[in-house]
Symmetry: C2
Subunit: 339 residues, 2 copies
Amino acid sequence: MTIRVSIDASGGDYGILVTIEAGIKALSVFQDLYLYFVGDESSIRTELDKHPSNTLSSRYAIIHASEVVSMNESPAIALRKKKDSSMRVAINLVKTLEADACISAGNTGALMAISRFVLKTIKGIDRPAIMGRMPTMTGHTHMLDLGANVDSKPKALVEFATMGSIAVKHTENITAPTIGLLNIGEEDMKGSEKIKKTAELLKTSNLNYVGFVEGDDIYKGTVDLIVCDGFEGNIALKASEGVASMMGYYLKQAFTRNLLTKLIALIATPVLKDFKSSLNSGKYNGASLLGLRGIVVKSHGSANVDSFLVAITEAYVEAHAKISDKISLQISKELEHNE
Amino acid sequence: MTIRVSIDASGGDYGILVTIEAGIKALSVFQDLYLYFVGDESSIRTELDKHPSNTLSSRYAIIHASEVVSMNESPAIALRKKKDSSMRVAINLVKTLEADACISAGNTGALMAISRFVLKTIKGIDRPAIMGRMPTMTGHTHMLDLGANVDSKPKALVEFATMGSIAVKHTENITAPTIGLLNIGEEDMKGSEKIKKTAELLKTSNLNYVGFVEGDDIYKGTVDLIVCDGFEGNIALKASEGVASMMGYYLKQAFTRNLLTKLIALIATPVLKDFKSSLNSGKYNGASLLGLRGIVVKSHGSANVDSFLVAITEAYVEAHAKISDKISLQISKELEHNE
């Protein structure tokens, strides 16, 4: 079975400079992969010419799109006015079943809005949730929602857990992913009313729910999947990015304070590189929009080639595992059961 | 005017081993400081004997308390059963006006419960909020609530802003502290309904409200004061601690991988020390319980002598500035105005 992935080639901070090379790399890694490069045809062709790949050219197609959704564009405008954007055309290919998954490094809000409009959500799901991988001391974990949904009700949080559990199970080969609910204390009595109610629902579900986790558990790798409302999820993610930037800033400061420290930095270069690579967020690129009738993966806007390749891999693996169909099946079973 | 601070000497992970030495140091730094060391009298005396301080002995008193609240004790039990705990007796001294402020490194939940029971909250405030200092790339900022209040209503969030603004103004000498509301996007349309409502209230207030901030703004130092519900505040704080631990772990890993990297670590020791000191969370020790009829400062449980000294300094500065009275006055003015 060939896995067909449509790439919003013009999306992201670097557009085709990154997406084309990453796509070519992906084709050489996955022999059963077929790609649609969606964007300005002549620019894509020029970029492809830089990467001679005679044996690969039968495994991709260029789909022209005359517009681009910019990174700061209002999602509503992108949705209503840019019907021929590379993002929209790439998503259309999933809708028409020409592609098994779509990937974009473009504007997150626009990707959410257009995916939801074009693909629609699974019956029983109102808005898709964003699941991302987070580095931990022992490897990585998964967390959703990272910002697509605010004011989520307990029932919605349980749906996040269901969808995330299926995705982690099939993309990571974990039989029953352990699930933690993000809270501000591990005791049953702590937390908001909404979280207590959600915990009750999770306890009676078929999911492998293990209990409350706290903010620091994300990076300890306590569980395979952390469930939270998009408000807290996004704040935790952004605060984490903020601390990491600050620590990087102070580390650089310490090593560039004077001539001696600069010399020490030179000596320590391999160690610092090793440190950086263990924290390389690019290794965890590729967030999944779960709950759609189709697979859509969001790459970080500033992804480089290697990191965009990681996100293409995520789309490829999800398409292979038919994540969207599996989630749809499970949610519809639960709806029937509750009717 | 002498500033009298009561110290829960037995509180925290290290108890009198840390609190007494820090107290003695504080007395030599602040000439107008008087201390109450509250805890087991004979243990305190033995510890004090290790720090001969003939000239200082007129500036402190030992107040015996027969019990200690343990770090994992239920706040309800601590409140109901341990009426002669060092924590409770230290707070009682603020109630009886024998002390101008109290400081404890003990169990946060118990400190909240006992402070609230003994001192009561300011009229119009239901529960105190916890304000802490956070390191930034440019210095430090303040954030509240860090976990005392969940499901806070917009009105309560505005009270946090009022209390925090007064505290920052008078302890940091900033005429009109800039205030940001923690949200998941900077645009007006983003965020939960509660946050949008709160923003409307803050815009019409007399506070120096500048708008929404995101999680990464905490560490950029975008504003002087960040306001949020205790649920998000605690998650942001814990997630940040988690990232910092993980980065520290990977940095150590990189430097201890083999003999060569260990040698490099040796050479880089002064730089790594410099880096650690710039991030030293002990410099920001001392969270304020705002909204009480009295000043209560919470030290981190694992604080060392220097870091506990920072927290004593916070209590001293707040007592000097009569933070609690100033907050009470402002809140009562606003209550009258709204009646």
